[in-house]
């Protein structure tokens, strides 16, 4: 058997049905322990696809592993079943429930059991897609000042590693519970995009190689082909917002190079089509995220542009 499938937690339904949260373990339990968690939110299927791609590769090379790899392919299965962000019925964002509670409703218990099961992990990666209204360039997020995570994330085959300062709600996220954790993100919310999962899967395998868990000859690519990312922080990332209500019509693509003043898109009146506002790049850089859902209000973020005068 290449992997051991364990149920780490079950959520009982009123009808008696049980919803299982599963872990697939590769390796014999020795060496460094790596964990990949996907599907914390149910509207990010790209992460789930990455988890299964990594599993498929490890299945082939499991005898060569020099460590333990735990894959949690989908920890919010009820939301994934419906393609929605939150745990249904309780309407709770699982990524705002950590570290969870042992005696509480299902989302809190799942959060608690997941944190418990991940104790002792040497490297945690959460992989997901974009917010459902956005397309994101391939990126890794690490906590500002976490140099270990930054050094690992540079091998994740992404375009950007973003060192983020924790916000007011970050303490209740999964990755906040563990040192050196990394978030991988890319693609479009609630759908699969050709190529995105391949890149993120290769990034995960490359990190396994860097950690010494997966030998060089088990990689499906040559290490020289791994993308070398830009490293940016919050000061380098500009959020562009609409100042009027209307339809945002983008004129660029994610990760496109833009110069200062370059038109990112326009907001038009939804009835007459009248031009209401041009959204321009505030700096020279690249488009890190782009709004795909066109309806906007004053203040709605339509894009993120990352300044590329450093490390690019």
């Amino acid at each position: 058997m290449s992997s051991i499938i364990s149920v780490i937690c079950s959520a009982g339904m009123p009808t008696g049905e049980r919803i299982d949260i599963v872990r697939r373990r590769f390796g014999n339990g020795e060496g460094p322990r790596f964990a990949l968690v996907a599907g914390v939110r149910g509207d990010t299927p790209e992460g789930i696809r990455v988890a299964h791609k990594v599993c498929a590769h490890l299945q082939e090379y499991h005898t060569a592993l020099k460590g333990t790899v735990d894959i949690y392919p989908c920890v919010n299965p009820l939301a994934a079943h419906r393609g929605i962000r939150r745990w249904p019925f309780f309407d709770q964002d699982l990524n705002r429930r950590f570290p969870g509670r042992a005696a509480a409703h299902a989302p809190d218990r799942v959060a608690f059991r997941l944190v418990e099961d991940l104790q002792g992990v040497d490297q945690l990666i959460e992989v997901r897609g974009a917010h459902s209204a956005f397309t994101e360039a391939l990126q890794a997020h690490v906590r500002k000042g976490d140099s270990n995570a930054l050094n690992v994330a540079k091998h994740a085959n992404v375009e950007v590693v973003w060192e983020r300062c924790p916000g007011p709600s970050s303490t209740s996220t999964l990755v906040y519970q563990f040192r050196d954790s990394i978030v991988l993100e890319g693609g479009t919310g609630n759908r699969l995009t050709t190529g995105i999962a391949d890149d993120l899967c290769n990034g995960v395998l490359n990190i396994l190689n860097v950690m010494g868990i997966l030998p060089d000859d088990c990689l499906p690519f040559h290490w020289a082909g791994v993308t070398r990312p830009s490293v940016v922080d919050d000061d380098s990332v500009y959020r562009l917002r609409s100042e009027v209500g209307g339809l945002f019509l983008p004129s660029v693509k994610p990760w496109e190079i833009v110069s200062e003043g370059h038109c990112i898109g326009v907001v038009v009146d939804p009835i007459s089509g009248r031009h209401l506002q041009a959204i321009n790049a505030p700096v020279e850089g690249r488009v890190l995220a782009l709004r795909e859902q066109p309806v906007v209000l004053p203040g709605t973020m339509v894009a993120r542009v990352v300044r590329t005068d450093q490390n690019v």
Binding site: R85, F90, H105, A106, P168, S169, I271, V295, V296, L297
Partner: protein, 299 residues
């Protein structure tokens, strides 16, 4: 009625944050309702209060904000419909941020009054007795008791989260009262009247209202240790035997969880202590570890 803030919205009319103001001078009181679009008892409470205040000369200022999340209200959603964000998690807000952050910022500025009241309903799955939640001590306890609502619940650390309106008010040193009553997504006329009477009694207590309002006693004045929480240990079909406002004695049958199909008994619940039912589950399908009943000790 005055417009405090507006946002242009595509495909529909302008979003307006509207305020009803009565009287002038100090003391000043703000009453906010409808931060969550599917909680309507606070809206009705404000409208009852507005109907009374317009006939009375006041010795102070009363601002009523009957519905903050009007877009959520007309679509029956708790959160702001466009981006599904909770306005009550967006404080202190940002005048240059997203729509909910702008609304939160405008509301916080518009409620710079001596006393602030935020009225909510329970979730659509539960019903709450009209109550006011305050810290353990301080002027807020005096104000809460003066409202004469059925329950005063003193909770240390309650609403310290400054991304919520109550926490944001308290972090700025304003006296903040968190009022809850009835059930979400429905109109509970009795709870709305009770909460409106509570607001009027507080206005009389502060000297804003020159004429007294029928007095009512707090039936419960307690801390968390005086409240018994009843959780189901198993999922199933909840059949209640008591309602909010019922008094129970030890051994009183509160309800039972049965099999969804077939109705076989899975778990029966009886009161461990005497008290008042202050919270009751209304939606019958329950998951394991869900709150079913809260019983508070009578004063």
């Amino acid at each position: 009625m005055s417009e405090i803030y507006r946002l242009e919205a595509p495909y529909r009319g302008v979003y307006k944050l509207e305020r009803l103001s009565f009287g002038s001078g100090s003391p000043s009181i703000s009453v906010v309702a409808g931060l969550h679009g599917n909680e309507l008892n606070g809206l009705h409470t404000c409208n009852i209060v507005a109907g009374l205040l317009k006939m009375i000369r006041l010795n102070g200022t009363v601002h009523l904000f009957p519905s903050i999340n009007t877009f959520g209200m007309d679509q029956g959603t708790k959160r702001w419909p466009l981006d599904d964000r909770d306005i009550n998690k967006a404080f202190p807000g940002d005048p240059e941020g997203s729509a909910v952050e702008r609304i939160a910022c405008a509301l916080l500025e518009a409620t710079e009054t001596d006393i602030c009241i935020d009225i909510h309903s329970a979730s659509p799955l539960m019903r709450e007795i009209p109550q006011v939640r305050v810290p353990f001590s301080g002027k807020e306890v005096e104000y809460a008791r003066a409202m004469g609502l059925p329950m005063v619940w003193r909770r240390e650390g309650d609403r310290l989260d400054t991304t919520g309106l109550i926490g944001a008010w308290r972090s700025e040193g304003r006296a903040a009262l968190h009022v809850i009553g009835g059930r979400g997504a429905t109109l509970d006329i009795a709870a709305s009247r009770t909460m409106a009477n509570g607001v009027m009694r507080l206005l009389y207590h502060l000297g804003v209202l020159p004429v007294p309002v029928d007095a009512d006693e707090n039936r419960v004045d307690t801390t968390k240790s005086g409240v018994q929480y009843i959780y189901g240990m198993i999922g199933g079909f909840w059949v209640p035997e008591v309602r909010v406002g019922d008094e129970v004695k030890p051994g009183h049958l509160l309800g039972k969880i049965t099999e969804v199909i077939g109705g076989g008994l899975l778990q029966e619940f009886r009161a461990e202590t005497a008290g008042l039912v202050v919270t009751a589950r209304t939606y019958p399908v329950v998951h394991a570890q869900e709150l079913l009943i809260r019983i508070a000790e009578l004063s």
